[in-house]
């Protein structure tokens, strides 16, 4: 795989107390691509993302973004470097309006200056958000919440967008709709990381894929070259990776 990745993870280990959640994980997210990280519940997907974003501290290992070592930086500083994440369960600010949520997405000084343009772009990408702009986020449907979380993450004009489990609890039609929007975003030059449980959709929509089982990378490569059945076997722990 491409060595000149936008973001590279080198031998990352993450512990929860005595329990090692991430074992020696190395990954490379090439610039401009869509990368999927596939794994079942408890495979360590969110732990990995939180370590990349500085929410959890890594035990050892390094994370590089555009060649800079970002390991151990504060989350807000990592976001300022150009990485944005739509968190699992699309944790939007419940008692704020859709508009206020989006405005907070453009909190950093750079995006703040061009907030109106970015807002317009967000509403164009997800029209339902424009209709609900003045409503409190609590009253949004599951799909709209997910749209808001992604749109909010895009308000900081990231170079890398990480989406944690978009499809969780959503109807397949809604998921397809959001995925096609994300493809549009990718075409504007934003590198996208999709973290998912679902094998087929992840392989279909991404250029590169990694399969995470029990905190280890057990497979990785071009999504076209990965065999769906083999991925599923690894995923369900049917072969030697179990």
């Amino acid at each position: 795989m491409n060595d000149n990745g936008l973001l590279t993870v080198e031998s990352l280990n993450v512990d929860y107390g005595d329990f090692r959640a991430i074992h020696d994980v190395s990954m490379c997210f090439p610039k401009g691509a869509i990368i999927s990280v596939i794994g079942s519940n408890g495979a360590g997907k969110s732990t990995l993302l939180n370590a990349i974003m500085g929410v959890n501290k890594a035990r050892s290992g390094r994370v590089f973004f555009e060649g800079d070592d970002i390991t151990g930086l504060r989350t807000s500083s990592i976001v300022a470097k150009g990485i944005s994440m739509s968190p699992e369960g699309s944790s939007v600010f419940e008692n704020m309006s859709v508009y206020e949520n989006l405005v907070l997405g453009a909190f950093l000084p750079g995006p703040r200056k061009k907030r109106d343009i970015l807002l317009e772009r967000a509403y164009e990408l997800f029209p339902p958000l424009k209709e609900k702009a003045k409503q409190q986020a609590t009253f949004l449907s599951g799909g709209q919440r997910q749209m808001l979380a992604i749109a909010r993450a895009l308000m900081s004009e990231p170079k890398l967008l990480i989406c944690d489990e978009i499809s969780l609890g959503l109807a397949p039609v809604v998921v397809s709709d959001i995925y096609s929007r994300i493809t549009d975003v990718n075409e504007t030059g934003v590198t996208v990381v999709l973290v998912e449980q679902e094998v087929k959709r992840s392989l279909d929509y991404s250029d590169y894929s990694y399969v995470l089982v029990k905190g280890r990378v057990v497979m990785g490569g071009l999504s076209d070259e990965l065999d769906e059945k083999e991925v599923k076997d690894a995923y369900f722990g049917i072969n030697q990776y179990a």
């Binding site: 974003m53 500085g54 929410v55 504060r74 989350t75 807000s76 500083s77 976001v79 300022a80 944005s84 994440m85 968190p87 944790s91 939007v92 600010f93 419940e94 008692n95 704020m96 206020e100 405005v103 907070l104 997405g105 909190f107 950093l108 703040r112 909010r152 993450a153 900081s156």
Partner: protein, 290 residues
């Protein structure tokens, strides 16, 4: 009947002063989840600053107050940045203990320097009556206290609801990780909040110093009042502190009217307990942490 109306009006105006005492405590709790035991002592510290600065600035209380706000902001930044932010990550209890220690230090240092004598800040309106009718007499000082507190709370409320800084504060209050993901440095936000809380505390320190006077050890009694105000109004609700202050003030003075001034404080806290039983979240508890 005249005395009843007088008690009601005085209680209402006293409530304004109580709100200025409590609003900083409410801010810090609502946003950081931290119970700042040092709030009252920091407020009395600001009273001492105003008194001392006024003496050295040819008696100008206004100039002394402005200087005090600046000094208290620096103290707030150091307190939060150097001490509290370090322990807050380990949960609210260790941070609470730190503020308890800070309270004891401030109170004892004040006692060491100034002794245990009664102090006060000169007030230009001490003997002026703004309203003087058969029904009710309102002192200029009480009216000033209420107007200043109400304006302070209104401005704070607008800042928190309408500005980007306010939205960032609310974001940090509801979900620290999500706020950081917006690029908001929550540690720095907490420092600003502590500065803001101590600036409002300086307003409380000015009003209390002019109206009632103070001792080096008065901080703890004002902490109790601040607790009352904040618990009645709802932890973290800014407008709620004004409501809580007014309810506590009116309850105290009507208690004095009906049962004598000896039980004034008791009636205030019985009202607090009753309201707490009926509505544990407080009357307007909204900005609380998830």
């Amino acid at each position: 009947m005249e005395l009843f109306v007088q008690s009601l009006v005085s209680g209402l105006l006293l409530g304004g002063l109580y709100a200025a005492v409590g609003v900083g405590l409410s801010l810090v709790f609502g946003i950081m989840g931290l119970t700042n035991i040092a709030h009252g002592c920091l407020m009395i510290l600001s009273s001492f600053f105003i008194m001392v600065f006024a003496r050295h600035m040819s008696g100008s209380v206004v100039a002394a107050f402005i200087l005090t706000v600046l000094v208290m902001c620096v103290i707030g930044a150091l307190l939060q940045g150097v001490l509290i932010n370090r322990v807050l990550a380990k949960g609210p209890e260790p941070a609470l203990l730190v503020t308890f220690g800070v309270a004891i230090v401030i109170w004892n240092v004040l006692q060491l320097i100034f002794g245990a004598d009664f102090k006060s800040i000169p007030s230009p309106m001490a003997s002026v009556n703004a309203v003087n009718t058969r029904w009710v007499v309102i002192s200029g000082e009480y009216l000033f206290n209420f107007a200043v507190s109400a304006a302070l709370i209104l401005v704070l409320h607008l800042v928190i609801q309408k500005t980007l800084f306010g939205r960032a504060i609310r974001a940090a209050a509801s979900n620290v990780v999500a706020a950081e993901l917006m690029g908001i440095n929550t540690g720095r936000t907490y420092i600003y909040i502590m500065c803001l809380a101590l600036a409002t505390g300086s307003v409380g320190g000015l009003l209390v110093g002019q109206t009632f006077g103070f001792y080096s050890y008065s901080g703890m009694s004002y902490l109790i009042i601040a607790f009352g105000v904040v618990v009645i109004g709802g932890m973290g609700s800014i407008i709620g502190t004004l409501l809580g202050g007014v309810i506590l003030g009116v309850a105290q003075l009507l208690g004095a009217y009906f049962f004598g001034s000896g039980v004034q404080i008791l009636v205030g806290y019985l009202t607090l307990l009753t309201l707490l039983t009926l509505r544990p979240r407080g009357l307007l508890g909204n900005m609380t942490r998830e």
